[in-house]
Structure formats: C-alpha cells, structure tokens
C-alpha cells in the first residue's frame, strides 16, 4: 500500500540557515513525487514536482529510490518560507490519485 511519511510535524530554523524537510514513501511501483506548500491564510499550492527537476523559490528535492525518500532542501532559509509543507505521491500510470503526508510546519526565525 502507498504511504507517505513526514517524520517532523514542526521544524524551526534560523534565517539564513539550511533547511531540510524530510519525506519518506512506500510504494511498490514507480511513483511521482511532489511537494505542496500552504502559506498562512492561503490555499494549498504545488511547490515542485520531482520529474521537472526545477528549483522553485530556491527549494530543490531529489528522489532517492534506494532510500525511498524525497527530502525538500533549501540552502538559506528566508522568513517568507514559513509555511506548512506537504509531501505527496501519485502512482505513475494512474495520473489521478494523490497520497499526502501529514505535513511539516516550518518556522523560520528572524
């Protein structure tokens, strides 16, 4: 069965420090992985998709199939990065169903 685990419910870092939000998944096939973000009083929105290999707002995420992880990283955290982050998995081929983790609330301390 598919499962997405985000081990940290809360994460605090100082401005300018590196940040890493962890995501581990279990899925027997080949998944597509995503990170979604929800800023305060805003809607949930797509941050990045592993297959696009883009860097969005300075964030990157590498799919590690060996460790079944998709950690989100940024070298220098900014105050505006404070938000709720969700890792999500979509089984490749279905194109339709998403499994979300429980989310990590990131606070960047000025």
């Amino acid at each position: 069965a598919q499962r997405v685990t985000q081990p940290e419910k809360l994460l605090s870092v100082f401005k300018g420090a590196p940040v890493e939000l962890k995501c581990n998944y279990s899925y027997s096939g080949s998944p597509e992985l995503f990170w979604y973000v929800q800023y305060s009083r805003q809607r949930l929105q797509l941050l990045l998709r592993h297959i696009s290999r883009e860097s969005i707002k300075g964030f990157t995420a590498d799919l590690n199939k060996g460790e079944t992880s998709f950690h989100l990283k940024k070298p220098f955290a900014q105050e505006e990065d404070s938000a709720m982050y969700y890792c999500a998995l979509s089984p490749r081929g279905t194109g339709n169903q998403f499994y979300f983790g429980t989310g990590t609330s990131l606070t960047v301390i000025p």
């Binding site: 797509l46 969700y86 999500a88 279905t94």
Partner: protein, 113 residues
C-alpha cells in the same frame, strides 16, 4: 479568474443527515478532485471526476458520492453523516492533460454534531 471556488465556507450538520458541497473549477480546467482533511492530517483523496464520470476513487465508503456537471463544476455528497466526517473538504481542479497541476480551493469546513 477567482480560481477554484467552494461553497459553503462552513456548515454544521447533525449525525445521520446528508450534505452537499459544491466546487467550481478554475477556468479552463476539466478535472476535479475531492479531498478530506481532518485536523492535523494531510489531505486524503476521496475521488476524481473527469468528463462527468468518476475516474478514480480513494478508500472512502459509498456514503461519499459525487457528480460533475457539463460545465465541469462538481458536487460532493455525503449521506448518513458520522461524527468522524467532521473535516475540511478540499476541491482541486487540474487543466487538460496536466493532472499533477492541482489548484486547490479554500475548502468547506464541515462539523457534524
């Protein structure tokens, strides 16, 4: 474009009642997905509608049903409400051929007493 809109914003129902939630997708989008988000949890996939048909369904009982109209708007119906159905219900729409590009609505907060 107001993006994805949902109505109502909040509602309170009694156990055993039925409820209908509504969603209008972003302009140009043809696919609508529904999610249930309990407090402190991530969104859980309920089902997805495309071309007025249910294309995929998550692990939810038949009490949860939906509909998509020719203008791509969608409804989520929940029958025989349980206390455990209290949650934020999110609707997300996607443009043609880009299922991963989900645009979420603000959600409907359902409280079952």
């Amino acid at each position: 474009d107001a993006g994805v809109t949902q109505s109502p914003t909040h509602l309170i129902k009694t156990r055993g009642q039925q409820v209908t939630l509504r969603c209008s997708p972003k302009s140009g989008h043809d696919t609508v997905s529904w999610y249930q988000q309990a407090l402190g949890q991530g969104p859980q996939f309920i089902f997805q509608y495309y071309e007025e048909e249910e294309r995929q369904r998550g692990n939810f009982p038949d009490r949860f049903s939906g509909h998509q109209f020719p203008n791509y708007s969608s409804e989520l119906n929940v029958n025989a409400l349980l206390l455990g159905d209290s949650a934020l219900y999110l609707c997300a729409s996607s443009p043609p051929g880009q299922y991963y590009e989900q645009y979420f609505g603000p959600g409907t907060r359902l409280t079952v007493t």
